[in-house]
Every structure is written in structure tokens, then in C-alpha cells.
Symmetry: C2
Subunit: 292 residues, 2 copies
């Protein structure tokens, strides 16, 4: 196993460009969306990601109509940003997505932060989803998505999941009394997760808003920050030397994972939350990143 000669990971001091970007995001999201318990945490994680990936990313690639969109009746609001990796970077793209939708039994807020890597590295992708169906329930999906068949590559488990001690964070979350494992209804989605994936549903019961706030700003915040840190430290700018065939087979796998994710997560759900026309436009933009 070798560490490839990538650009060094930038140190964490904030440049004025990053500060501006973080403030810009924070004010856009706060202005467009109603208040939400997990939003501050998600904004902080997105900013932490920016600070570390700065030199590896190109500016946003999406038009304003994707950065901010809603359905005709205004009950569903969304904001999506996609930034591609700079040339020579191992980052394929960063996708940030904020959705707030009225649904028959209340509202649903889905926040995603997803970073896919390219064929310069075999290191995992980063995947965070926070889903609130009200102020007292939260589904948290947090994982470093493997890029190889783990049953066939035990060394990959060793390197990215065992030695990084990721299971500790899963255990920390699952210790909470309000937490239950979350099994995605899609067997495919379950199959792409790593053995240390955090996939939980947190339910604080009626009048549990204060408790939920405490959990989000306590354990969930700590764990999410730590997992992101592991990913930034161990998976960006690192990798295992690969032959051409191995690289091709990894990219073939990535391609299937991306196309199934679009099919399962977006094509099935988006049109239920937004008008057909808005849906198509947004999905097309995401597809551009997933399929390039």
C-alpha cells in the first residue's frame, strides 16, 4: 500500500475566500429555509469540508435555478450545489443538497453532503444524510462508501475501516437510548454501505425537541465531525497503488453505484416532492456530475 503523490491536504487556517463562501452559504440557506434543528451542524460540516478541500475544488458549477428552486405552490424548497474537483485532485465532485418539503403528515427536511472521488484513488467516498420528519425525529446516514468488493479485499477493510477505528463512532451513536438502527427500504442501498456505516433513526418522542437538540449538538455533532476528519485525513490525497485493470474495475463499480443511487434516491422520490419540470431539471444537473 502506497500513499500517492497528491497535493498536500491544505492546513485548516481559513482564507478569506472560504470564509466568504461559508458565510454566503449560511446566509442563503438561512434566508430561504425555515429554521431546522440539524441545519447549523450541517452548515458547520460543509464549512469544515470547504476549509480542507479548498485548493482541490473548482467554483460552483450549477446555475442559479439549481442553487435555489421550489415547486409551484411553494411548499417544497430546495438548494443544490455541485463543485467539481480541480485538475490533479482526487475529488470528482462535492454535492451539497438542502430540501424542505411539505408532505401530507407534516414536513420533511433532507440535507446531504456527498463527496465522490475519481480514479486517482481507491479511497472511499464521503456520504452524509440528515433527514428530519419533524423536530423530534432524525435519520442519520453517515458512511465512507467503499469502492471495492470488501469480501474480496480484506486489506481494504483493514486500511480504511479497521485502522481508522471508525466503528468506535458507530458504537457511540448506537449507545444512545433514543437510537435504533435504520435499515434502508432499498436492499441495494444497504449493500453499498461499509461495515462501520452509521445508519440510525433517532426518535425523542412527543415533546422531545429539547432532547433532540441536545443529541444533535452533542453526540451527533461530535461523531459527524470525527468521521469527516477521518475521511479528510485518511481518504483525501491517499490511496493504494492499482493496476490498470483494478482501476477500471473500480470505476465500473462506481458507475453502477452512482446510477443506482440516482434511480433509487432521486428518480423515485424527487418527482413526489417537486413538480415534474423542476425535478427533471435538478435530476439532470445531478446526473451530469454522476455520469461524466
Amino acid at each position: 500500500m502506497l500513499t500517492l503523490p497528491f497535493l498536500p491536504v491544505p492546513t485548516r487556517q481559513k482564507s478569506s475566500a472560504i470564509r466568504a463562501c461559508a458565510m454566503d452559504r449560511r446566509s442563503t440557506i438561512s434566508t430561504h429555509f425555515p429554521p431546522l434543528l440539524h441545519r447549523d451542524l450541517a452548515l458547520d460540516l460543509a464549512s469544515a469540508m470547504d476549509s480542507r478541500l479548498e485548493s482541490r475544488l473548482l467554483p460552483s458549477s450549477v446555475p442559479d435555478e439549481i442553487k435555489s428552486f421550489k415547486n409551484q405552490s411553494g411548499t417544497s424548497i430546495g438548494s443544490i450545489d455541485i463543485r467539481y474537483g480541480a485538475p490533479d485532485s482526487s475529488i470528482d465532485f462535492v454535492l451539497e443538497s438542502w430540501l424542505h418539503c411539505k408532505v401530507p403528515n407534516g414536513t420533511i427536511d433532507i440535507t446531504s453532503l456527498l463527496v465522490y472521488q475519481n480514479d486517482r484513488t481507491d479511497a472511499p467516498h464521503f456520504n452524509l444524510e440528515l433527514i428530519q420528519g419533524g423536530p423530534t425525529t432524525l435519520v442519520l446516514l453517515l458512511d465512507l462508501l467503499p469502492r471495492k468488493d470488501l469480501a474480496l479485499f480484506p486489506n481494504y477493510i483493514e486500511k480504511y475501516y479497521q485502522e481508522t477505528n471508525l466503528d468506535k463512532f458507530r458504537q457511540e451513536i448506537e449507545k444512545l437510548g433514543e437510537v435504533k438502527p435504520y435499515n434502508s427500504p432499498s436492499l441495494y442501498i444497504r449493500s453499498v454501505l461499509s461495515p462501520t456505516a452509521i445508519a440510525v433513526s433517532i426518535n425523542c418522542g412527543e415533546n422531545g425537541t429539547v432532547k433532540m437538540e441536545e443529541i444533535i449538538n452533542g453526540t451527533v455533532r461530535n461523531v459527524a465531525k470525527e468521521v469527516l476528519e477521518v475521511w479528510l485525513d485518511e481518504c483525501v490525497g491517499t490511496g493504494t497503488e492499482m493496476g490498470e485493470e483494478e482501476r477500471e474495475s473500480m470505476m465500473r463499480r462506481d458507475k453502477v453505484v452512482k446510477s443506482k443511487s440516482i434511480e433509487i434516491d432521486l428518480q423515485a422520490n424527487f418527482p413526489k416532492l417537486f413538480d415534474q419540470e423542476v425535478s427533471s431539471r435538478v435530476i439532470a444537473e445531478i446526473q451530469k456530475a454522476f455520469e461524466r
Copy 2:
């Protein structure tokens, strides 16, 4: 997807040979081992397996010293049987293992029923483990082990896990109040399981023996029978047409899974439960089946 021209699955009428085999096993196990809550269930499942696989299996391949063994002080007792698949059968081997061991804080009983298939089919292997650390706790591992990288082969999930409705059984078990998900300490073992794997620990608390008996003979029995039935119906004598390369890649994967299983399950634990000499003999016999 094609159904391959295998031998028809024998019907379920019991021949006298099967009856004799089942009675033989039942009396051997009952004579050698102290009473145990899950034993009847495991014996019934092993018999059900026999009835259906009869014509596909050769007689037992193990010497008496493997069919029954113990450590010097007699505190650990074991019985292992291995039957290889008949020529033309898709069964590679059936491994049945019964272990009863005194450990510092009580006793541990581990019963396993494992069927590996060969390269005539891509259909999953069958894996059942029942582990009791006393009369009120049970770890249940029950899965049809996939033989392909599920992220790369969504059709494989569809065929063997979705259409067979296996997740229903996992949900049924997990509904029980005494049940918690069981995460193997080995990240590798977690990685070889299917998305519908049943991996639970059942704890009935102090004085919970009657409750445990009820659960074992109720939900656990029903679910285990159903899952075995699905495997017998959908995975034995069936399969997907494969090219030579695909077959080779599947067998390469199987080989890694088998060798890691021996390393994790046996080489690490067996010598703690039995004397070195007994351990080595038993592991060598199992290795013969796993590595041929």
C-alpha cells in the same frame, strides 16, 4: 437469467435412509451433549436439510475422532460432520458443527449448519449459527451468503434477496422486544453478509428461560424454517448463466471468504476452547473441505 439443468430437488417424503441418519444424529448429539434450548430446533433444521438434499450428498467424510471430540479435561465437547456434494450436484459441502464448552463465566454452546455451493451455480451459500452463552441469551446468525459483489450486481440482489422476500423474516425477528442487532466484532464477517441477513442477539434477562424457550420454539423456529425453505427452493439446483471469467471471479471471491472465515472463526477461537492438538486436527479437517 436461466435455471440450469440440475437434478430435480427431491420431494420431501422421508426415505428410511434419511430417517436413520436423522435418528442417528439426534441420538449421538443427545447422548454426548448436556441439554440445550436450541438443540431440538437445530436438529430439526439439519433433518429438513437432509430430506431435501439427500440425493445431492455423499456419505459423511469425517473420521470418528472428528465426529466426536473433547479436550483433555472433558470440559469442552464437540462434534463435526462434513458431507461433500455428489458429482453433478451444485453442493460443495455441508458442514454441521456442535460445540459445548465451559468458559470462565459459564458455558457456551455453538451450533452451526453451513452449506457451501460450488462453481455450478452462483446461488448463495446457506449459513446458520446459534450461539447460547447460557439459557437466557442467544445470538442468531442466519443468512444466505452472497457470492457476488452486490454493489456491482443489482440483479443478484433482485433475484436472490428481493424476489424471495427474505427481508420479511429479518423484520419478524427484529420486532421482538428481546432482540437487538448483533454486529460481529469482525468487520470482515459483517462485510460478507447479505442485506437481509439476520444477525441478532436475544436476551431474555434473569429468569428468562421460559421466555427464551418460547422465542426459540416460536419466532426463531418459524423464521429459520422459512429461510431454509427459501434457500432449498430458490438456491439449490438454480443459478444464473455465467461466462468463464465470471465463474472464475466468483470462485476467487469464494476462496477469500472461506479462508478468512477459517482464520476469523476457527484459528482465532478454537484453540481457546480445545487443546492445541484437538484444535489442529479439527481445523485441518474443516480446512480440507474449505480449500479443496
